[in-house]
C-alpha cells in the first residue's frame, strides 16, 4: 500500500512546504492532514469478505452467521487500526462510529428484507387467478386449490367499517384536544387515549365478545370484528392526528384569526389543510396496523370458508384468520395457502402505504 498523502484526497489548501499566510504568529497554520485514499475502505472490505469466505471454506460454520460476523469484525478492527495509524485518533473514531452506524442500519433492515423475500417466494408458488378469485368452499384441506377471495373481501369490509367509524371520531377528538381542549377534560381524554394505546388486541376482541356478543346485541359477525378493530384504531388515529395538528405553526392560526376568520373556518381551511398529509399518513398507518390483527377477529367473527358480504350477520373470513386457519390445518397444501394469504396481506398493506404516500405528497404544502 502506498503511503497516502494529503494530495490523494483533498485539494491542498496550503501546498506542503509552502508558507501559509500566517499572521505575526510563527506557528504555521495546519489545515491539512493525512487522509486515507478513497479506495482503502473498499480494499479493507474486500479483504474482510475474503476472510469470511475463507472461514466458511474451512468449515467452521457452527453458527450460520459466523463468516458474516467474522468478516464484519475484521473490517471494523482493520479500518480502525489502519485509520489510527495513518490519520490519527479523531479520524479513527469517526471511521469506527461510521462503520457501527452502517452495521446497525443493515442489521435493522435485514429481518424486514428476509421476511419480504421469504413470503414473496413461498407465496408466489400458490398465486394464481384461481387463488385470487376462488374461496375455500368445498375445498378439502388436503387438496391443493381453493382461494382467498372470501378472506380478502372480509378484511376489506371489516377494516373499511372500522375506519369509517374510527377516522371521524379520532380526527375530531384530536382537533378537540389541540384546538379547544384545556383543563381536566382534555387531560383525562389524553390519559385514556394513552391507556387505550396499550390495550392488547385480544382484550379488545374479548370486550366486544362479552359486551356485545354474549349479551345478544350482535352475533358473531364482521360488524362485531370491525368494532373490535375500531377500538384498536382509535388511539393511533388520535395520537398521530394530534401530533400533526400540534406542529402546525401557531402563527398560521393567528394570521387567519387576525383576518377576521372565525375559529372553525381557521381550523377547517388553514390548520387541517396544512396538516392533512400527516393526518392521512397516520390514518393509513392505523388501518395497516389493524389489517393484520388476528386475535380479536377469532373472538368476534371466527372463521368462514365462503364469501359472506353481510357484515351484520354470520361469520366472516379475513386474511389474518385465513392464514391462521390454513396453518393450523397442517397439510402441505394448506400451509402453501397460508403463505399465499400472507403475501396477499402484505401486498394489501403495501398498497395502502403507497396510496398514503401519494395522497400525502399531493396534499402537502408546496414551495415552488
Amino acid at each position: 500500500m502506498n503511503p497516502p498523502t494529503a494530495a490523494d484526497t483533498d485539494p491542498p489548501m496550503n501546498p506542503p512546504g509552502g508558507t501559509p499566510p500566517t499572521p505575526s504568529n510563527s506557528d504555521p497554520l495546519k489545515l491539512t492532514g493525512r487522509r486515507l485514499p478513497r479506495w482503502v475502505p473498499w480494499l479493507v472490505g474486500l479483504g474482510a469478505l475474503g476472510l469470511g469466505l475463507l472461514v466458511q471454506a474451512t468449515g467452521i460454520t457452527a453458527i450460520g452467521l459466523a463468516p458474516g460476523i467474522i468478516a464484519g469484525l475484521a473490517f471494523l478492527i482493520a479500518i480502525t487500526v489502519i485509520s489510527l495509524a495513518f490519520e490519527g485518533r479523531r479520524h479513527a473514531v469517526d471511521r469506527l462510529a461510521t462503520t457501527l452506524v452502517y452495521t446497525a442500519f443493515i442489521l435493522a433492515l435485514a429481518p424486514l428484507l428476509w421476511i419480504l423475500v421469504t413470503v414473496t417466494i413461498k407465496g408466489l408458488s400458490v398465486m394464481s387467478p384461481e387463488f385470487l378469485t376462488g374461496t375455500m368452499r368445498n375445498v378439502n384441506p388436503r387438496d391443493a386449490g381453493g382461494g382467498l377471495l372470501h378472506a380478502f373481501l372480509g378484511t376489506l369490509e371489516q377494516v373499511g367499517i372500522a375506519a369509517l367509524i374510527a377516522v371521524p371520531i379520532g380526527v375530531l377528538a384530536a382537533i378537540y384536544l389541540v384546538e379547544f381542549g384545556k383543563g381536566k377534560l382534555s387531560y383525562w381524554i389524553s390519559f385514556f387515549v394513552d391507556v387505550m394505546t396499550g390495550i392488547p388486541s385480544i382484550v379488545a376482541g374479548l370486550f366486544i365478545y362479552t359486551a356485545l356478543i354474549l349479551t345478544g346485541v350482535l352475533e358473531q359477525s364482521g360488524l362485531a370484528a370491525a368494532l373490535a378493530l375500531t377500538i384498536l384504531m382509535l388511539p393511533v388515529i388520535i395520537r398521530t392526528t394530534e401530533e400533526m395538528l400540534r406542529i402546525v405553526p401557531n402563527e398560521l392560526r393567528e394570521g387567519a384569526l387576525a383576518l377576521g376568520v372565525p375559529k372553525w373556518k381557521v381550523i377547517l381551511r388553514v390548520v387541517i389543510p396544512t396538516a392533512i398529509s400527516g393526518i392521512i399518513t397516520g390514518v393509513m398507518l392505523a388501518v395497516a396496523r389493524v389489517a393484520g390483527e388476528t386475535a380479536p377477529l377469532l373472538l368476534t367473527t371466527f372463521l368462514a370458508q365462503d364469501i359472506n358480504l353481510n357484515p351484520a350477520s354470520g361469520s366472516q373470513a379475513s386474511l389474518p384468520t385465513f392464514i391462521w386457519d390454513q396453518i393450523s390445518r397442517g397439510t402441505n397444501a394448506a400451509v402453501d395457502r397460508a403463505w399465499g394469504g400472507a403475501l396477499a396481506l402484505i401486498l394489501f398493506v403495501l398498497v395502502l402505504y403507497a396510496g398514503a404516500r401519494l395522497i400525502a405528497k399531493y396534499f402537502s404544502p408546496k414551495v415552488n
Binding site: G255, G260, R269, V270, P273, T274, N368
Partner: protein, 259 residues
C-alpha cells in the same frame, strides 16, 4: 374611511400576571403611530389587544376600554371576529398560508367569508390588494404559485395584501420589518406612508430610525423591572419625542443611554 382609536385605562393580563397597566392613548384617523420601548415592555401586547388577538392566548384578558370611533370593541355583544375584520394585523414573521397559492393567500380572508363572490370581482380584489402592497408587478405572472415560495420581503408584502384585501379601517403592524433585509424594509416603509391615506396605522418597532421615518406620533413604553407591568411613559408627535422628550426615561431611551 379610517377610524380613530382611543384607549382608556387599559390593563392587560396573562392569567394572574398584570403585563401592562393603565394605558391611555389616542390614535388619530389616517395617521401612523409607532410604539417603541425595550423588549418586554408590552408594546406588542397592547397592539394585540387592539384587535382582540390578545385573548386568543389561554388565560389572557384585558380590562378597560378601547374605543373605535367611540364604540368599545370590548363592549358586550361585540363579536371579536368582526373586530378583527375591521382592524387588520400584520405579524413580525411573514406567515403566508403554506397550502395556498399567492392568489388564494390574498383572498384567504374573503374566500373564507364570502364564498359566493364572483370570480371577476375576486380577480379585481386580488389585483387591487397586491398593487396596494406594491407586490403586483413582481407576482402578476405567477399568482397560482405557492405563497411560501416568495422571498421574505415579498411574503411580508403578501401578508399586507392579505390584510388589506378584507378592507379594514385600521392596520396593526407588529415589528413588520424585523425579519427583513434593508431593501425589503425600505419597500415596506414606503408602503406604510402610502397606506396612511386609507388606514389608521399602528406599528411596533425596535428600530428608532424606522419610527422617526414612518410615524406621525410615537408612544414610548417602559417597565420598571422584570416581573413589573409595562407602562405607557410618554406619547406625542414623533419629532418631539425624539428631540424634546419631556420624560427622563424617554430621553435616555431615544438617546441610546439604555435599552
Amino acid at each position: 374611511m379610517s377610524k380613530q382609536i382611543d384607549i382608556k385605562d387599559l390593563d392587560i393580563y396573562y392569567g394572574d400576571f398584570l403585563a401592562v397597566e393603565g394605558v391611555n392613548l389616542s390614535v388619530k384617523a389616517n395617521s401612523v403611530m409607532s410604539f417603541i420601548g425595550p423588549s418586554g415592555c408590552g408594546k406588542s401586547t397592547v397592539l394585540r389587544s387592539i384587535n382582540r388577538m390578545h385573548e386568543v392566548i389561554p388565560g389572557a384578558y384585558t380590562t378597560g376600554e378601547i374605543l373605535l370611533d367611540g364604540e368599545d370593541i370590548y363592549g358586550p355583544n361585540v363579536d371579536p371576529v368582526l373586530v378583527r375584520r375591521t382592524i387588520g394585523m400584520v405579524f413580525q414573521r411573514p406567515n403566508p398560508f403554506p397550502t395556498m397559492s399567492i392568489y388564494e393567500n390574498v383572498i384567504a380572508g374573503l374566500k373564507l367569508e364570502k364564498d359566493k363572490k364572483r370570480k371577476q370581482s375576486m380577480d379585481d380584489v386580488v389585483e387591487e390588494s397586491l398593487r396596494g402592497a406594491n407586490l403586483w408587478e413582481e407576482v402578476k405572472d405567477r399568482l397560482n404559485k405557492p405563497g411560501a415560495g416568495l422571498s421574505g420581503g415579498q411574503q411580508q408584502r403578501l401578508c399586507i395584501a392579505r390584510a388589506i384585501a378584507v378592507e379594514p379601517q385600521v392596520l396593526l403592524m407588529d415589528e413588520p420589518c424585523s425579519a427583513l433585509d434593508p431593501i425589503s424594509t425600505l419597500a415596506i416603509e414606503d408602503l406604510i406612508r402610502e397606506l396612511k391615506d386609507r388606514y389608521t396605522i399602528i406599528i411596533v418597532t425596535h428600530n428608532m430610525q424606522q419610527a422617526s421615518r414612518v410615524s406621525d406620533n410615537t408612544a414610548f413604553f417602559n417597565l420598571a423591572g422584570i416581573g413589573q407591568p409595562g407602562h405607557l411613559i410618554e406619547t406625542g408627535p414623533t419629532q418631539e419625542i425624539f428631540t424634546r422628550p419631556t420624560n427622563q426615561q424617554t430621553e435616555d431611551y431615544v438617546s441610546g443611554r439604555f435599552g
